[in-house]
């Protein structure tokens, strides 16, 4: 490659190089920020073990021996009507449920699923999951927490010395 030294003398190449390096650094940090966002994004899963009706069919809650999520989070023993809350990090997860069916036989269901990055809270209907583990849209649904606005406004203190 032939270098035009007059350009270096004029500082054009060094200026271009500086812009390229700055742009490279900015892009690197943007990518790093995006990666950190996706890697560290947490989601609250509501493990809902209550009776639920989906498409006209009733799914009954059951006794649970153990729920394992991503091998780290273990919930031991749960009963019908109980909703457990669990915080998971990232989008891809694995759930394993050991439960007793109507005949009191111990069954196991295991499934991997993805939580959309935009979702803060998701409802996992365990009875539906046990029946249709492959149909994610049936048992993994969006959950919107009800915000209760208190009558009493929180006083904001912007200066601790009240100056």
């Amino acid at each position: 490659m032939k270098i035009d030294f007059s350009l270096i003398k004029d500082g054009i190449i060094s200026h271009r190089r500086r812009i390229l390096v700055t742009a490279g650094v900015v892009i690197f940090f943007l990518l790093l920020a995006l990666t950190m966002f996706f890697v560290g994004k947490s989601h609250t899963l509501l493990l809902n073990n209550t009776d639920v009706e989906v498409n006209g069919k009733l799914y009954k809650a059951f006794d649970i021996e153990e729920i394992i999520i991503d091998e780290d989070n273990v919930i031991e023993g749960s009963y019908p009507g109980i909703i457990d809350e669990i915080l998971v990090v990232g989008q891809s997860h694995h759930i394993k449920i050991s439960y007793y069916d109507e005949d009191d036989d111990l069954n196991q269901v295991e499934v991997s699923f993805n939580v959309p990055v935009s979702e803060r809270m998701m409802n996992v209907s365990l009875p539906v999951l046990a029946a249709h583990s492959t149909e994610e849209s049936l048992w993994l649904t969006h959950f919107e927490p009800i915000s209760i606005s208190s009558e009493e406004e929180e006083e904001v203190i912007t200066d601790e010395f009240s100056m």
Binding site: F37, G40, S42, R120, S150, E153, V156, D159, E160
Partner: protein
């Protein structure tokens, strides 16, 4: 003839060397003089005072040595990064950068956003640091540009800039978050806009401290945080030797001489403030992950004052500071912070007295350090003037 000249020169240098070695021998063998002791005490009055207060505090507080060591390690990990961020502006002759609160606010905005987005753990801390960086750079550049217009009054100017930016921060956090910038999580005030007074940083609480856990007996050592601080210290040591570091020292020495030798004085000073502000932002993130809760409207306001006080307690002045001052200062200052309320309670039965004591001592120490610096600066100037006068008169 040339040989004789060389002979004369070599004899004179031999004499000079002999007299120097005699002087050195005298300095090393003779006992310290009263004037020397007085000078040492005068130069180190603040750390000496704090060592005495610390010893009394330890005795009267009734704390066990293990409890004190544990607390000191926690506070060292929590505060050192913030205090180190003050070193670079001092290196550039700009005094204590009270404008570090700007960086602290940027760090807090980073933490507020990751809490809102639910990004947790080390990725959360890194994301907060990445968010705080451009805000810190922008604020640091702006602050540095203003400080260039207020040469010689950098400390008071940066202090007032801190108040001004605090107002802007409050406008953004108290009124624009939720109304202009979408905030949906529980950090939002019930009225629908503005952030709550206290924000729980549960997602990043002690994440860095517990990354590499080490427990010796009951003493917990946050290894990862200390490694980060050590890395920063090495960066500062390396930075002093770089071209920019040397430029900063030259600017601190004499701005006009530095300018004459081709150094871009204004640019160098702005860079010093930018680096300090960015580091203060990271320092605030380290500080708050250790605390675990963010006092949205007050956490940053006292950070500049307490960090400056800690550095001065370590024996630094507004013109000279090093890493040794940082660690000694953090230990002594926070030892006083920790033991004073309990010592006050045990002595007078009033813990509140200790609280007042530590607040007025932190402000008082800054005053003492500034007064001492001014006295020694004036004394030095007078001595230099006298020496110049004597040499001029001798010449006549």
């Amino acid at each position: 003839m040339i040989k004789d000249k060389f002979k004369n020169i070599s004899e004179s240098s031999k004499k000079a060397l002999k007299s120097y070695s005699n002087d050195l021998k005298t300095t090393l063998t003779t006992k310290p003089t009263a004037a020397g002791v007085k000078k040492f005490l005068f130069n180190n009055i603040v750390p000496i005072m704090f060592i005495i207060i610390g010893i009394f505090g330890i005795i009267f507080s009734g704390f066990t040595p293990t409890a004190i060591i544990n607390e000191m390690l926690t506070r060292l990990a929590r505060n050192s990064f913030l205090v180190v961020s003050l070193l670079i502006p001092i290196m550039a002759g700009m005094g204590l950068n009270f404008g570090m609160t700007l960086g602290a606010m940027a760090g807090q905005i980073g933490l507020l956003l990751i809490t809102e987005w639910g990004v947790v753990g080390v990725p959360g801390l890194l994301l907060a640091a990445i968010i705080s960086t451009p805000i810190s750079v922008l604020l640091g550049w702006w602050c540095g540009t203003i400080l260039n217009k207020a040469k010689g009054r950098e400390m008071v100017t940066s202090y007032i800039i801190g108040f001004f930016v605090n107002g802007v921060y409050q406008l953004i956090v108290l009124f624009m978050m939720g109304s202009v910038f979408p905030i949906k999580s529980e950090i939002l005030l019930p009225r629908g806009y503005g952030i709550r007074n206290m924000v729980n940083l549960t997602g990043v609480r002690r994440v860095l401290d517990n990354l590499i856990p080490l427990k010796i007996g009951v003493v917990q050592i946050p290894i990862a945080t200390f490694l980060l601080i050590a890395g920063l210290c090495f960066f500062i040591m390396w930075f002093r030797k770089t071209k920019l570091g040397q430029d900063m020292r030259a600017v601190a020495g004499d701005m006009e001489v530095a300018r004459a030798s081709g150094i871009k004085v204004e640019r160098t000073r702005v860079l010093a403030i930018i680096i300090s502000t960015v580091l203060a932002g990271y320092g605030m993130i380290v500080y708050l992950q250790n605390m675990g809760t963010l006092n949205t409207y007050n956490s940053h306001s006292q950070v500049g004052m307490f960090s400056a006080a800690a550095l001065l307690v370590g024996g630094a002045s507004v013109a000279k500071a090093n890493i040794r001052n940082v660690f000694l200062g953090v230990v002594l200052f926070h030892l006083m912070f920790y033991v004073a309320p309990y010592a006050g309670k045990n002595l007078i039965g009033e813990a509140q007295l200790g609280e007042y004591f530590r607040v007025f001592v932190s402000y008082g120490v800054i005053t003492i350090a500034l007064v001492i610096y001014e006295i020694s600066h004036r004394r030095e100037t007078a001595l230099q003037a006298r020496a110049l006068r004597e040499s001029t008169e001798g010449g006549k």
